[in-house]
Subunit: 492 residues, 2 copies
Amino acid sequence: MDSAEHDTPLYLQLAQRLWAGIEQAAMAAGTRLPSVRTLAAQHGVSMSTALQALRWLETRGHIEARPRSGYFVAPRARRSKRASGVGEAKAGSAGRWSKPVPEIDAQARDHLAIAGAPTAVRLDLASAETSLYPVERFSVLLRRLAYQHRDLVGSHVRGTGYPALRAQIARQAMRYACELDPEELVVTNGCVEALNLALRAVARPGDVVAVESPTYFALLQMLRALEMRAYPIPCKPRTGIDVDALRQALDDGVPIKAVVTVANGNNPLGSVPSDAAKRSLVELLREHDVPLIEDDIFGDLCFGETRPRPVRAFDDAHGNVLLCGGFSKSLCPGLRLGWIAGGRFTERVKALKYTTSMATAELQQAAVAELLATGGYALHLRRLKAALKSQQHALREAVLRYFPEGTEVTDPLGGLVLWAKLPEIDGRMPSTRVLFEQARAEGISFTPGHLFGENGAFDDCLRLNAGNRWTSELEAAVRRLGELAGRTVVPI
Amino acid sequence: MDSAEHDTPLYLQLAQRLWAGIEQAAMAAGTRLPSVRTLAAQHGVSMSTALQALRWLETRGHIEARPRSGYFVAPRARRSKRASGVGEAKAGSAGRWSKPVPEIDAQARDHLAIAGAPTAVRLDLASAETSLYPVERFSVLLRRLAYQHRDLVGSHVRGTGYPALRAQIARQAMRYACELDPEELVVTNGCVEALNLALRAVARPGDVVAVESPTYFALLQMLRALEMRAYPIPCKPRTGIDVDALRQALDDGVPIKAVVTVANGNNPLGSVPSDAAKRSLVELLREHDVPLIEDDIFGDLCFGETRPRPVRAFDDAHGNVLLCGGFSKSLCPGLRLGWIAGGRFTERVKALKYTTSMATAELQQAAVAELLATGGYALHLRRLKAALKSQQHALREAVLRYFPEGTEVTDPLGGLVLWAKLPEIDGRMPSTRVLFEQARAEGISFTPGHLFGENGAFDDCLRLNAGNRWTSELEAAVRRLGELAGRTVVPI
């Protein structure tokens, strides 16, 4: 993406400008704001950007939308009170920042449907193809374990994880100087369960949880299901979560109960914050006594020379970071194994694991433990990362070649996916919601951008999986997607 | 247990008598009730029974306990308003029926600790020993599948369950005329996850959920973790949940959002309701439009000639019953496989599964599917049930022989456990909480009764696992437990 992308996003700059104007002019509540079209023209931005700016102000309670009549300045009382207002909000009552409905977004469900029913060309998901994982190795390990350790199959499963696996997870973390206590580790059914337990350990229904914007769509669906409210913090394609914006929100008194970050190899942006940024994030949250939930599942898939350290590694002995990880991306998708290091929330996490799924099956835990113990993981990672890097390069080139001129696409520092932003066409805003349906009809799947945000943000973006080996078939699909994207616009 | 046990429990009879008295005498709020000792003497019951009656009235808001001064009649307003009062209650606010704290009960955690750290003699859990399961068969199946179907290990897991397994689950249910649609089935990480998804699909934080009393302790912990309130409905050792008591509660306007029943081979009582009782339960709940969550995990382990039908089988086409099952008790504990048929809540369940653990690993699903498809399950069940029946008989005889005179113990119609009630000793109430600590110190584990209820109910009861082959070592442990029980009393 161009360098501008590295600074505050355009829509945020505009939102801040608009807000400053409203404050300076001391506009009365109910004052009508200019239309999206007018704003776009006045400030020389796209209508999608103008709309995003308005929606951003709306999500913060500065302005209100009235059906068919536009945006209006919100009552001052509400603006100043907004923080406590949400703090007091009852679980389930419509939140200002996100509707905490225990329903999954309709299109997310369509997306699931696709995930369930394979399409011809899969550019959705964030997973490498089977041939890139040490499946042969696992096949041998599982066969031997199923033969030698019948108890792994036939015994009641107790405790919080297979001891040998917990020991290996702690040992692996030492590679990048992250100290984990095997006793604080709970093995989970994939990293998704780890995140779910982490959220429930530190926040309650109605609570506000700060998330990166854009962020992993399943996290937003999870927050809805838990009746928690997502508070978006801008995230940048190279440097990740905007710590200053988070500090601002905390200083503004936004009642943030927890922060979730996918720091290393961010999903969907592929960012990796500097160690300095990680340290300042830890210090900021410790200052405000707000726990951090870190999803490090892409940490082993970052392309740099040295494996980036999790934010947790900078937390010293405070236990304020709940570190979640897993093996579904880096080692073996089919085993559905994840883990969480609960820090000072470990007892809560263990209790919640017990009442959520009791315990995790041990056969596959033993297999992973043995693979990690007997070596070969480092070599596998080098190969996998090399493949992902070249596949991302090929995919990125194809997007730049076949997608409409002006399409921006990330150049990730890690992970499995690319994030692309479509340009306006004839001053009209593209919609990947619409593109999604069209592509789906032609057997091509991807993840539409609006799922990564709320209130319609990122509808002009899409996430593409770079986990597949580059083939002419894949290239043809990207070309076709680019053609469709060129026509996929919606009137405002 | 003696026949009296088959009617309304003594403490409930007393509670109802007391309440009638309070109403008739129109006792003013704040009127002090007689002491536990006096009540026991007046009504010719044990002090533990008198205490249970008072606590039962307290949980319903009829009376209030004041530290060190006894029980007092609650303000009328609160009593009459109690229904709507709870309906309106905010999530997390202290409930009248159960404290919805997201913390696990301290002693439940101790119990977990024991479950985690094996003791010499395990009478806790509800699981048969490994040798009683077809582990050999699974070892072979898993080895073949890991060899032949690498994709089961190396591919991203999609959808709501391995199709072949969902088909087999539906086929199995046909054996006892229970129609399940493979499309409504979601495979889960054990039956505990199924129950968790079911509760979240039909109820929200702050909601009241009716449960059997006594009931599976993990269910009560789960309700706490979900900030839901448990409303106890008496359950009987042979006939199960008291449908009349449930009808009464609904007619009283208790805002019950859902009912959970372990109908077949009830945990801990081993009851199996008649088909007529199941039908009336279904009709009652349909009448009141209250969904039923049925845990049928012990259904295949009932001792009768024919496999009892789940309550769900009597629901016809209404989809008002969410049926949960699993294979951890009947087929293979180590695989941690469960399932849920969501009925009319299927979409909610699928969405919640996605945001709770995304998908369940498929290798073990394929193994179970193949075992069910290739036969041998029926034969295995016959053998397992015969073993359980004889082990229960031996354990029951030993309890009657070695435990204090007057100890009552269930004669289960199915399942893996026995439920025993200790007698008073010298007019003093026994406490299995205390017994638990003493036994633990000697390397003997069991499940203390208070975990199966709330507000101190069932502290004079305990659950014993009959899943172990009967040995002299086991008999010695039961003898020792009986000796300890003879001395385990607490002053009131």
